[in-house]
Structure formats: structure tokens, C-alpha cells
Symmetry: D3
Subunit: 242 residues, 6 copies
């Protein structure tokens, strides 16, 4: 199936937390959006793999996703193998997305770093005709763009997507992952969470911070490496005052 956008994320809920608003906006605009999760998130401190599958299914319904794949790589053990990047490249070819969204290549979680690297390589390889892909029936096709989304390590984004119109829906989306938002038991004091902060609170803070950078209430930051075509320098709405 031809997609408009494909999101590559390490764990179920990474896509929602990082670019959930962008996915909701794209769906509203009638675009076909898909997600590839690299793992089932089975290493997560909170919730079983079954819990997480149910949560992901609920999130998919809110997102109206066209397709969601899971590569079932081992959580906490994602490696940048040739096989993984070629499976990813095959999925890219199969769905012919115009845009790929993926983790940044730098982050604190090693799976996120590896996912970013895998996506960067797969983006390139998807455009090579003779990619070693025995099952390939689809021709080579490289998405027009690869944008990286932000994890724990901040970067100066190229773009911020104004997610104000869908911010409450994004909140509902992240709430689908309820096991991730509450203690797993009396011993769980959230030690596994970096910076001790609540996921919903962190998500809102990030949305406010990057929203302010472009003069809107809530935003999601995206990074593009290298210059972009300037379609119309006058198209963009005002971000500074009147």
C-alpha cells in the first residue's frame, strides 16, 4: 500500500510521544500514515508485552493508521544489522512513503540511537535498485525526505509542526499507553525514567517549548539534515508579532 508518511520508532509509544500530533494532523488532512515499531517494548519496566499490544491497538484507532508493522527486534538490544536495515528498506519500498520520520541518531537510549541510524541507512538503500532483497518485487524508491524527531537530547530543529489543533487528541493518544504512565507496583518509583518526570508532563513541556519558538501554543520539533527547497519564502505565516 502506498503511504504518504512512514514513521520508524524503536518502541510502541515512541511514535505517539514524539510525532503523535504530526500524525494526527496528517490523518486529518486525509494522508495515509504508517508506523514501523522495531520492538514490542517488552523490556519496559511497566506493563507486559500483551498490555502494550492492547495499548498500541487503541492508539492505532485514534491515529487512523493505514498500517503498523513490528519488526520484533529485541527491546534494549536493537542492533544496526544489515538484515534489520534491509528489512526496513523493503518496507519503505513496499509503502513508497514520500516522507520518513525517525529517531535522531543521538539520544540517551541506545535503541533510539540505533533506530535513527537504521532509518538513515534504510532511507538511502531503498533507492538502490539492486539492494540485496530476495523478496523484493517493488522497484527502488527513496522517500523525498527524512526528518528526525527528538528524544532526550535536544537539537535545534529545522521545523516545528504546529500541533495546537490536535493537542488534546495527542494527549489522549499518549494516555492510551496507560501502563507507562503509572507505577507498576509498590517498588516502582519511576527510577527507570530519566529525569524523574512524568511522561505526559514532559510531552506537554516539549510541545510548549517548541511551539513558542514559532509563535504557537504547542509544537513538535523536526530536524532535516541539509538544505531544503524553498517553495515560497512568503508562504509561511507570521511567527513574530503582527
Amino acid at each position: 500500500m502506498k503511504l504518504d508518511v512512514l514513521v520508524v520508532a524503536a518502541h510502541p509509544d515512541d511514535a505517539e510521544i514524539s510525532v503523535g500530533g504530526t500524525m494526527l494532523l496528517l490523518a486529518r488532512a486525509g494522508k495515509k500514515v504508517g508506523v514501523v515499531d522495531l520492538t514490542r517494548g517488552e523490556l519496559g519496566t511497566r506493563g507486559t508485552a500483551d498490555d502494550r499490544a492492547r495499548e498500541t491497538a487503541a492508539a492505532n484507532r485514534l491515529l487512523g493508521l493505514a498500517v503498523r508493522h513490528n519488526l520484533e527486534l529485541a527491546d534494549g538490544r536493537v542492533e544496526a544489522t544489515l538484515e534489520a536495515r534491509e528489512r526496513l528498506a523493503s518496507i519503505v519500498r513496499e509503502h513508497e512513503p514520500d516522507l520518513l520520520l525517525a529517531h535522531h541518531v543521538d539520544d540517551l537510549h541506545p535503541d533510539h540511537r540505533t533506530a535513527g541510524e537504521l532509518a538513515r541507512s534504510a532511507w538511502y538503500l531503498a533507492g538502490l535498485a539492486r539492494l540485496a532483497d530476495p523478496a523484493a518485487t517493488r522497484p527502488a524508491r527513496r522517500p523525498n525526505r527524512l526528518y528526525h524527531f527528538m528524544g532526550h537530547v535536544p537539537f535545534e530543529p529545522t521545523f516545528v509542526v504546529d500541533i495546537g489543533p490536535v493537542f488534546e487528541e495527542k494527549r489522549a493518544l499518549v494516555r492510551c499507553y496507560s501502563t507507562q504512565l503509572a507505577p507498576a507496583g509498590p517498588e516502582d518509583r519511576g527510577q527507570h525514567l530519566l529525569f524523574g518526570a512524568d511522561i505526559l508532563a514532559r510531552m506537554e513541556t516539549k510541545a510548549r517549548t517548541y511551539g513558542e519558538r514559532i509563535g504557537v501554543r504547542y509544537g513538535e520539533p523536526l530536524l532535516h539534515r541539509g538544505p531544503l527547497p524553498c517553495l515560497d519564502p512568503l508562504l509561511a505565516p507570521s511567527s513574530h508579532g503582527g
Copy 2:
């Protein structure tokens, strides 16, 4: 009067918005804190110079400032003149602060950039015995540290001060500048504010963003150029989990 800390800011309210929490914490700890405002803020779209003087006086009371100077440079027209930097250096000598806090040398407002540059030069010059300062009776003295605070242009901070214990007081402090928080009249739709955001909301977003970076609720970011002595690598409390 010997101070512990001296803050150099371009306009009344800049010190409060940027490092109000740090100043409150220092005052609570019994430290002597002073401020040098470079201008009276008379160019501000909202409020007269008289309004702003009244507001500053109210803020001073909350801050328990030991001293507050105003260089009465022209607002919107601050220049890095020799005279300005030498006046600043004289004030530094007079008060012998251990720490200087000032704007960063990059910011969107030209007065902020210039204030950062002036403070950086004054910090250096204050330590030269023969500084061309006819009125000088105080010996040369360079503050131990110069930290820059953040304006509109983000940077990766060296430190974040945990201002959680005084955050509500900081909010009250910024509210002292009430003319800056409300429209000046029917024509004032906040166009002069970059990014169209409410000052209190922006202040809170920034506090949350940098607080999260060190695992606390609210923080103020500070930049030090060059390495710092590491007094005790074990002293610092956990910022990551348990």
C-alpha cells in the same frame, strides 16, 4: 558594599525574568545580591518610565536586594562604548561580587547582545589595576565567575539552578511588572512581543524545560564559558532516577 552576586541586565524586569529564582534563592541563603540595569526600559511598548520605576521598586522589595543601580543608557540604543564598560567595571570593583550574572552575547534584542558583551569586557577589565577610572579608589578585583543567562536564543546550559522552592515567589516577582503583562490599550495586541507569547507563560515553559533537564520541576539555565573546577564529583544529587 561587598556583594556576593551582581546581575547585569539591559532593562528593568530582564533580571527578574531570567534569574529571578536564582536571586531569590541566594537572598534566602543570606547572600547579598545587587542588580545593575543598563536602561530605564523607557522604550517598552507598555508602561511609562515612572510605571516601570514603581514596578522595579516593588520587585526589589520581594528580592531583598542590597543595591540596584541604573546606568540610564538609552533603551533600544545601548552601545558597547568604552565609557559604559568602564562604568560597569567600576561598579564591579566597588561591590566586589564573587559572581557576575549577565545576558548572553547572542540574543535577538540588540540591547541584550550588547549588555552581554559589556558585562564580559567589564568582568575582565575590573581585574586590571590601572583601568582608566579616575574615580577609582577600590583596588582591581575580578569576580570569580561570569555566568550568562538565556534570552530568546537557546543555548546548551552548563548549569541549571533548581528554582522549585521559590517558583511561586518568582511568579510574584514577574507580576510586579504588571504593565508588561497586559495590553497598553486597545491597539496593543502584543505585536512587539516576539513569538506572541505571554511573558508569564514563557517564563514557566522555560523553567519547566530546563528543570526537566536536571530532574526537577523548575529551573533557570546558566552558561559558563570554559571549564570549571570540580569540587566534588559526588556532591551533586541524582538527576537521573533513584
Copy 3:
């Protein structure tokens, strides 16, 4: 007169060489474009000020400019004075452009550096209501965007404008400045030109280099500091293959 775009350049011909293609495209699209030259270029090794005025007039006709100002600052002696930046801010207010295009703040020619700094400050100040501008009758207004164009010092651009459709016109535009393209006399071996290269050849090389970065034949690079609103991540045409 309300403009869509205002270009701030140090010397006549700087605007044409740097963003001539972008200006031609904007004019074709029915946009109103103006230029402010800071100097008359009287220091140029080749051609008199009269020559250059005639050349500029010819270029204006090709560009279909709505307006072209000259601040008549001294060539080779442009300084970032308060007066200069306020005159520039007044012109910005008068014409209410949505976009400001200006030199980058780093370049080899000191006038270019200063012009970039002046434009950056004027952009900000134009949005302050009480800017010290006695002749001001226009309300404060800050252009939505400030983009910097490239001189001798390369940077990684945010955008590249595809100037393929107007490249031959741009060549004609630069040829208007014929005194700059030929030796002034037997002693003139182009020593004043950095890197000894022909202006037209350099212009074409730069257009090819940045065009290739976005997959087109000829391009003009532009830099925006800070993130931009992402209007539609799918809007942009392919820059990488099919």
C-alpha cells in the same frame, strides 16, 4: 508602499549577485520587491559612482523593483551606528515587508558583516512601538522572517531557492554591472577580487553547487536562524530521485 520583500545589501550589485534569482522569481509571481543599498559602491576598484548608478538603474528595470533606496553610507566604511540601524528600521516600517533578505553576519568584506548585523538589529527594532524615530508615522511592524544570503564565507543553508527558471535572466542582471566584470585599465588584474575569480563564473558555480543540494540545476542559498513553522511536510517536491 507595502512591499512583500525587502533586500538589504551593502553595495549596488550585492543584492543582484546574491539573491537576484529569488528577486526575479518573486517579481514574476507578482510580488512587490524593494532593495536598500547601504552605499553607492564608490570604493569599488572598477567604475565610477556614476557608472554604478547607471548600472543599478538598468538592473532595476530587469528586476521590476517597486523601490530602491540608497542610504549613502561610506563604502568600505559602513558602521553599525544607532542612526544607521534606526534609518533601516524606519524603512522596514514604511514598507512593511513580510520578508527581509540581508547579508550574513559573517563574511570577509567588513561592510557585508556590518550590513548583516544592521539588518538583524533593524528587523528586531522595527517591531518596537517606541523606537526612537522622530519621523515615524508608521506603526511598529516586524517582518515575519529574516533570511541571510551568502557572501564569501560558506554556511549550511536552511533553504535553497530553485532559480533554474530565471537563471539566464539572473546572468543578464549581473551583466548590467559591466564595470565590475572587466578590468578598469591596464594595471587592473583583478587583485582586489578575492580568490581571483570572475564574478559571473563564481555566481554560476555557487548556483550549481546549491542547486545540486536540492536536486535542481541552479539555486540560491538562504539561512534562517531558529526553527520554522512546518506548513506541510508533504508539500515539498522530491529532491532525491523519483
Copy 4:
């Protein structure tokens, strides 16, 4: 055994050369310090593995180490495998250090780069409860801090530890590795040493260079990524003049 600090180094002597002074200071202050060497250094041009084991034992006595592990990975062939990083994460859990010290992720020696990457990943993984660690009986625990030490590639440090009080002891510590300090035989002209410099001389030069940056005689540079909590901006002693 609960440790205060754990050092992760590629080869025996790397810990001593890079952070020997810091380890000595911590031991003096009554802190428990441990080291994990990834290899036995068997690829070293000078000295056998037995020689190096004897040297390491002597160094341990000077350091008063609480524990020293060796992962016995192949020298010159350290790879960032899942197994290696999980073994390291298990050791981190077992010893619950508050601080992890490790190579920087960029260096000329590939083992150093890999050791830095392994430590960065292990630091993160140690905080995940369900880390795939069959032998784990210890709960998840992530050290408060990870600091990187410097190899051949300089970086701008966050901190410099004043090692003046223990500098002669550090010299003695490095001298424990006597096989590394003298030619192995008539053919050994030190070609394997980068930059042809004597290890003790290089160690002293680096200590002087970074000591001067904070106004002391000898220092060891450390890098922390991301901001740090500012416990007391006034705590730090003067690094600049009086």
C-alpha cells in the same frame, strides 16, 4: 559491594593515566572506587600480559581500590556487542556507583571509542528493570552521573579536577606501568606511540594545561553531556586572580 565511583577503561593503565589523580583524591576522601578494565592490554607493544598484571596490582595498591574487574575482551578488538554492554551494566548494578567515569566516545584508539560507547549505553541500561540479565539479582540502578575522560582528541571539558595535592602520587601511579615507559628492545623506538611523546611527559603536559584553565597547577579534564544542577554558584573557589 556499593561503590562511590566506577571507572571504565579499555586497557590497564588507561584509568591511571586519565583519571589517576581523581581516583587518588576520592580514595583520600574515604570514597570507595572501583575499576573495570575491558582488556588485559595484551596487544601492547611493550610488556607481556603477566608484566601488565603485576603492574596493575601495584597500581591498585597505590590507589587503594575497592575492586578491579577485567572483562578480558580482546585488546585492539573491543567491540560494542550487546553482551559486553550488558556485562558492564550488570557490574554497574552490582556496585551501585554514584558516578561513572569512562573514555570519551571520540578518540584515536578504536578501543577507546568503543569503551566510551559501551559505558554510555551501560549507564543507560543499568536503569532499566528488565534488562536482559539472567544473573541479575540487583535492582535497576543508574549512576547519577557519567563523566568522560580525555584521550588523544581534545575536547572542551565541563570540569577540571584540581589534582595538585596528589600529583606526585599520580606520577608514581603511572610509573607502576614501567614496561610502558621504556623501550621493549633495541628495535622499539616508540613508533607505536602517537606523537612520539613519552607517556609521563604527556601526562604532565595535559595536567598543566587543564590545571591552568582553572587557575591551579595540575588538573584532570572531565566532560559531562547536558546541563548539571547548580548547587551553589558561590561555592566554587576563585579561578581568576584574587
Copy 5:
């Protein structure tokens, strides 16, 4: 055989496109130059492995290469294995080059990134006497320099080699790879080429761009990490005017 220069490239034609001019100049000066290609380029969209072998042979004749090795790693699947880097290190020892030229560690093609990383590690390891190389009879030897050449991701070069005197020969060299320059069949519209640009055109644009940076017509950019000895600051010819 002792070489002066060894070039490490991922695919046949990478060496020619990137540093063909430098190799031609070295050969003209009587230097012995060798190439190690990591793969046979069998993944290339255009041309069979046999075609490419014939093309490489033709290029070798023009280059007057002393030796050309092929590691026969899988094209599109180059991995930074220990074995690959040790084979490379053995070849470096065998040929004792004074200079190593290799891909940069950042590029869009994953094979290029990996080739740069392999070369960087092999450069270092070649200088360790006990490198795990059973077949080694040659003593340890590290080339004086490692320079990186440029792929799709631009960097600020340390050096530009003036290839003006051999530019037409370089063009002929690239034309040897005729299968890479023309469509492979009716379906081949060049989609696999990044940025849709013709290889010869891109090569010329890059040569012009970097040539201009040093004031010559055509140049090849090279990067050295870290400082270089300054043999004679006056030796270099003028790059700026008279």
C-alpha cells in the same frame, strides 16, 4: 611494495571521482599510488561486475597505479568488522604509504561512512606491533597522515589540491566508468542517483567550488583532523589576488 599514497574507497570509481586529480598529480610527480576498493560495486544500478572490472582496469592505466586491491566485501553491506579493519591494516603495513586517503566518516551512503570508519581504525592499528595479524611479516607502521575526501555531505576542508593541470585527465578518468554515466535501460531514469545530477556535472561543480576557495580553477577538498605541522608559512602561493 612501498607506496607513497594509498587510497581506501568503498566502490570502484569512488577513488577516481573523489581524488582522481590528486592521484594523477602524484603519479605525474613520480609518486607510487595504490588503491584499495572495499567492494566490486556489484550493487550498482548500472553495469555488471564485469563491466565495472573492465572500467576499473581502464582507469588504472590512466592513473598509472602501482597496485589496486579489492577486498570483495559485499556492496551495500560493508560492515566495520574486526576482520575488515585488520585486513586493511595489513595492507597498510605491507605498502607503508606515507599518506592514507579515505572517505569521510559522515556521508549519505552507509558504505562510505563505514569505509571512512574502517580506514580511520586501520590507520591507527597499523602502528601497533602486536596487531592480531597471523600473516604479518611486516613491522608496525602508521602512515604520517590520514586525509578524508568528500562525498555527499559537505565539510569545511583543511586543504584543497589544485587539480587544474590535470582536470581534463580527471574527466577522462571518470569517463572510464561509462556504465555509471548513462542509463542502464529504458526504466533507468537515474532515480538511484542522489539529487538527480549527472556524475560528471557534479564532479565539475565540486571542483569549481573548492578551486575557487583557494583561487584556482579546479580543486579537490581534503580534511585532516587535528593540527598540522607548519613547514613554512611563506611557502604557499597567493590564494587572494596579487
Copy 6:
């Protein structure tokens, strides 16, 4: 008088401390070297202007300088005026140096920053024929190169000059400035010196640090912005082992 090299320094002794070794080597090689000091150093805590003039004269004899100018700008008050940069440009024209050596544009001492900026602008302007220089009889001439030397703020140098052969002479050169090396009186505890370090000790540390970077004993670091022509990649002697 035609010079080979011209050094632009803020205070007498800056040239000697920063590039004294390079100047000595150039003089030994029969090159003509000149210095322009911007100030008389009258603000220095130690020594009178007369003392410093005598010291400078002694240093000149050791250096065998062809010429030494002093612009007599106010010490501690150097400003980047048009007049100062044009005087500097005139001196550059008069002496036609092939190489200009000057402070870096970033440093802690404001005079050093300004001197770097003045030199950078003068370098450019010297190549413009119509530079506003009423006394000019010399034609425009821009030095081939501008290298920046290092003050208190470190940078990654492009080059390091091996000053081993003249290091003892350099020490003697710095000792000429004896007033700067000893306390001025009982109150002078060196507070005006940044980082409290002895000038001779700092000079030696820096020489060792940068010498090691290229595999020699003592070196002086130099920065060139932008790429350099690569005359012969094989010319440089080994900096890494045998």
C-alpha cells in the same frame, strides 16, 4: 620596506609570547619580519610605559625585526574604529607582507578581540584600490594569508609551528619583558593575571601542548579560516611515530 611577515598585536609582549618562536624561525631563515603594536601597554599593572619601551627594544634586538610600529591606541580601550583599521591597512600596503599574523577574534581580553577584528578587516581592505587613504601612494595589496594566534581562549589550530630549535631563544625573548614577570610591589600578588599563572610557565605549557599535537617538543598554534592550497601532501614530515 617590503616585509615577508607582519605581526599585529595589542600590547608589547603579545607578539613575543604568542608567536615569538615563529618570528625567530623566520628571522633565522632570512625573512624580513615586522610588528605593529596597537598600544604601548601603559595599562599593564606592572612596569611603566618607559620600562616597557626599553623591554620592547631589547626584544627587537633578539628578534632582528626589520621594523616595529606602535599605533599608540589607548591600552584597555582599543576600539575597532574606521581610522584604526585604515591605518593598519595602510601599514599593510606599505610593507606588502605575504603573511599577516594577528590575535584571534575571540579572547578574554577585549583589546585582543578588537585587535583580531581590526587585523581581519585591514587584511581585506588593504586589497581594495580605492581605500579611503589620503596618504596612500602604495597600490592595493592583500597579504596571501592571515593566521590568528591564540590567547586565553583555546581553539583547534590549523597549524602548529615547530619552535623546538628556537625555544630557549623564545624564553629569552619573553624574559626581556622582565617587569611583566615579577611583582610590581608588595601589594602585587598577580591578581591581574588570569588564572594566576606565571607567564613563562604558561608559555611553556602551551608550547608543550601544541608541540605534542604534531609530535615535536614545542609548538606555536595558528589558525587559518577556510581551506588552504595543498602544495604537496607528502611534503610534511611524520608526526605520528616512525
